[in-house]
């Protein structure tokens, strides 16, 4: 569990930085490393999807997946540290993500209207 170990170390470091050395109380079998592993998997799936797919809507969904991976990691840390900062932040994040989804879909619709295509390769106007 190299990744898990790494995450543990990372959290330990973070804990020392935050000066909050709260030990995990009543830890079940499922602990922080597992949550973080899930978040990592979600992020990597989103990343791979973003890199491999060309459909704008799919690509947008992939970014959202990466976004939510960050949310999962935040919630996990929040639980681990026993404070609500991460959860609060995640609620804000979900709100922003919802607004962003609405806007991004609107943009995708507009782009589709322009070229009758959802292929991301069609759009290279920012070429230097």
């Amino acid at each position: 569990m190299a990744i898990g170990d790494m995450m543990m170390m990372g959290s330990g470091l973070m804990g020392s930085v935050l000066a909050q050395a709260a030990p995990p109380a009543a830890m079940s079998d499922v602990h922080l490393a597992h949550y973080l592993f899930v978040a990592c998997v979600m992020f990597v799936i989103g990343l791979i999807g973003f890199l491999t797919r060309r459909n704008l809507i799919i690509m947008f969904l992939c970014t959202d997946l990466m976004f939510q991976a960050a949310g999962v990691a935040l919630i996990a840390f929040s639980r681990y540290h026993l404070n609500h900062t991460g959860e609060t932040f995640t609620i804000v994040l979900i709100t922003v993500a919802a607004a962003e989804a609405a806007m991004a879909l609107a943009l995708v619709v507009l782009l589709f209207r322009k070229k009758e295509s959802l292929d991301a390769e069609e759009w290279t106007e920012l070429k230097g």
Partner: protein
């Protein structure tokens, strides 16, 4: 040092006292034996400033005319009026100055111009000193002499120009008269300045006006080139003048004539006592620098080449600036600072040789030219050499008298040539004109030309030119150190008489014939005279292929001016002839240019001024010898160019040309002096310019281009990164993320 100064002062007073006593006893002794006239300084009348101010006013008014695009002869009218006013003021100034005791120098303070106060360590003591150059006028008899002919001739020539330049009314007319008046203003500053810095202002001012007026026809490339040549060659001379002025300030602590002459007095006293070692070396260098300026301005070797080219300017300009006034500024400079030249062992001999050799060289070139205006130009160079030689053989009176007489007759010769050029559409080739003087309407021009030629050739007794030239020749042979100069000048006198009458006999007398030049001055002349095509209607009209061309006889302004000058040329004879120099001698003898038997080079060489000419008194012998030489020159010209000549283009002289071999051709090509200068000065400079041009283009420009291209190339290499494709960016981001992850892991592990 102090006691020495007092001693020399005392000595000087004693000497001048003794000399005055002698001259009182002897009354007005003849020749140059009269005692020194003490220079005294006094404040002069303020109205003298008008002499300088009126031409400036004319210049400003002409400038306003140009701004208002005046299309009439108004600027000429204004200029003539102001210059005539200036002449009358000069006359009044002269008459009032004449009433003063001899040797009085008036200083008329205009306004404070330059004043620099500073402190300087002198022998480890701080002294406060000041550099003062006021706009002030120095009026002594030399100033009066010069200003009388400058303003008088300027007025007459402005009147002449009002007609001569009439083709340009509404175009360059305003510009011409503005520059013309500015020239007179500058010349007045030069001559009347009470310090060397104001003289320098006038000196540069006349140079500028000369440049502007030579380049008057600025659309003609040769005129532009001639203007530049004159300006650049004068700059070379002016460097010497500037150095001389600086040296004057360094040595005398002032640039004002009054102070300089006062500080010269002890040196003059030691000179009079024959003690050359009392005169510091630095003071002997001053004239060496000043004379370079004089050689540039007065067109002497090696800087004379600009003056013949300056004939590209309109003829009135050639007459006033390049014959009568500006080119005599160098002679004036030496006359004004004559004490400095007398003090120097080497200055005057150099001046003598430069003057004599220039006189001879220019005369030989003048003999072989065909352009009559150019012949007059070389003659001017030659006569200026005469004037310098006159100053150098220790007759400042003769030098100044020759300036004075030459101003009249040379201006007249130029104006007569100008009338021909004006009337024959720019024709100046003596092979294409003949018998002009006897054509209807050209009588005044012919007579004026004859009078001018007689003067220039030194026709005995009746011409002023004979007397002034004779003074120089006589003094050269009387001077034991200047025998060679005398022979060169005598030879030049003969050549001068020949080439002068070569022009006269070919162009103004003989069979009537002309070919017009190729300048067409608009249609007004054709209409004025009507187009008489009938055969035999016009006697002069023989071979011209251009039917309808008629010589345009001069109008009242040109004729009046020529007639006035012809009369004046005779009126001034007594002014230079009576009593070994007459009026001019009184004028020069009472000024800074007076000569009192003592010159450093004469003392150093133990020479004297009473050398015999083959056992006769040099002055009396020269009157006969120079008359004979002049008459021989005229006679040769008569035989070769008049006797039996039936056409304009050929003469007996042509048959003689092969006898001279290539020499005649060399002289015609001006001894290749221009080509020589081209090879030794211009070509190396051009080659250097080419080297610098390529250095600039390759190295300097290359460096600049390198700095310009570097960011561009760098940007070009990074440009493909901005493909505009979303996936490329995404891969970049992912790659970056991976790198960061690796870094984090490596650092933390």
């Amino acid at each position: 040092m102090m006691t020495l100064l007092t001693n020399t002062h005392g000595l000087m007073h004693a000497l001048s006292g003794a000399a005055l006593a002698v001259s009182d006893e002897a009354g007005h002794a003849a020749g140059h034996a009269s005692g020194p006239v003490a220079q005294t300084f006094a404040a002069g009348p303020m109205f003298g400033l008008l002499v300088v101010a009126l031409p400036l006013l004319a210049c400003i008014l002409c400038g306003l005319c140009a701004m208002g695009r005046v299309k009439t002869k108004l600027p000429a009218f204004l200029t003539v009026l102001c210059l005539a006013g200036s002449f009358l003021v000069t006359l009044a100034l002269y008459l009032q100055h004449h009433g003063q005791p001899a040797g009085t120098a008036w200083i008329i303070q205009g306004f404070e111009w330059i004043r620099l106060d500073y402190r300087q360590m002198v022998d480890s003591v701080v002294q406060s000193r000041s550099f003062i150059a006021n706009f002030g006028l120095y009026v002594d008899s030399l100033t009066c002499l010069w200003m009388l002919f400058v303003t008088g001739l300027a007025t007459l020539i402005a009147l002449y120009a009002s007609e001569y330049m009439s083709h340009d009314v509404g175009q360059g007319y305003n510009r011409f008269f503005a520059a013309f008046s500015l020239f007179v203003f500058s010349m007045a500053c030069l001559v009347m300045a009470d310090n060397l810095v104001l003289l320098y202002l006038g000196w540069e001012g006349v140079g500028l006006c000369s440049y502007l007026l030579i380049g008057y026809f600025y659309k003609k490339p040769s005129a532009v080139a001639a203007a530049k040549k004159a300006f650049i060659l004068n700059r070379i001379g002016d460097l010497g003048l500037a150095l001389g002025i600086m040296l004057c300030y360094v040595h005398f602590g002032s640039v004002e004539y009054k102070v300089i002459f006062e500080k010269c007095a002890p040196y003059m006293a030691s000179l009079a006592a024959g003690q050359l070692d009392q005169i510091p070396l630095i003071a002997q260098f001053i004239p060496l620098c000043l004379m370079i300026g004089a050689f540039g301005k007065s067109a002497q070797l090696p800087l004379y080449v600009w003056l013949p080219d300056a004939m590209e300017g309109p003829t009135p300009v050639s007459a006033l600036i390049h014959a009568a006034t500006m080119v005599t500024a160098g002679v004036f400079l030496i006359a004004r600072t004559y004490p400095l030249f007398l003090m120097s062992e080497y200055a005057l001999p150099i001046v003598a040789w430069v003057g004599a050799l220039t006189a001879l060289l220019a005369a030989t070139i003048g003999m072989a030219q065909f352009d009559i205006k150019r012949i007059m130009a070389y003659s001017t160079v030659s006569q200026l050499g005469y004037m310098f030689a006159g100053l150098a053989v220790l007759t400042s009176v003769g030098g100044a008298a020759h300036v004075f007489t030459h101003a009249f007759f040379k201006a007249m010769l130029f104006l007569a040539c100008g009338a021909v050029m004006h009337g024959f559409a720019g024709q100046l080739d003596l092979r294409k004109l003949s018998g002009v003087g006897s054509m209807p309407g050209w009588r005044v021009v012919g007579i004026a030309m004859l009078v001018g030629c007689l003067n220039l050739a030194g026709f005995p007794i009746i011409t002023a030119g004979f007397w002034s030239k004779d003074m120089i020749l006589g003094e050269a042979f009387a001077n034991s150190q200047m025998q060679a100069i005398g022979w060169i000048l005598l030879l030049t006198a003969g050549l001068t008489a020949y080439y002068t009458f070569r022009v006269y006999f070919r162009v103004f007398v003989g069979p009537k014939h002309y070919e017009p030049g190729d300048e067409h001055h608009g249609d007004d002349h054709g209409h004025d005279h009507g187009h008489g095509h009938a055969d035999g209607h016009d006697e002069g009209h023989q071979t011209s292929g251009k039917h309808g061309f008629h010589p345009h006889a001069p109008g009242w302004a040109i004729n009046t001016v020529l007639a006035t000058l012809a009369v004046a040329a005779f009126v001034i004879v007594p002014l230079v002839a009576l009593n070994h120099g007459g009026w001019v001698k009184d004028m020069v003898g009472a000024s800074s240019a007076q000569f009192n038997e003592k010159a450093a080079y004469l003392i150093a060489a133990k020479g004297d001024l009473h050398t015999k000419f083959f056992g006769f008194d040099a002055h009396k012998a020269m009157m006969v010898v120079s008359s004979i030489v002049g008459l021989i020159g005229i006679a040769v010209a008569f035989v070769l160019h008049y006797q039996g000549r039936t056409t304009a283009a050929t003469s007996k002289a042509d048959a003689l040309l092969p006898a001279f071999g290539p020499i005649a051709k060399w002289a015609q090509n001006k001894w290749y002096v221009d080509e020589f200068y081209n090879a030794i000065v211009r070509m190396p400079l051009l080659a250097l310019a080419q080297i610098f041009h390529w250095f600039d283009k390759l190295v300097i420009d290359g460096l600049v281009d390198f700095f310009g291209w570097t960011p561009r190339g760098l940007g070009g290499s990074l440009r493909p990164a901005q493909s505009g494709e979303m996936h490329t960016y995404a891969v970049g981001m992912a790659g970056g993320l991976a790198v960061m992850a690796v870094v984090v892991i490596v650092v933390l592990m």
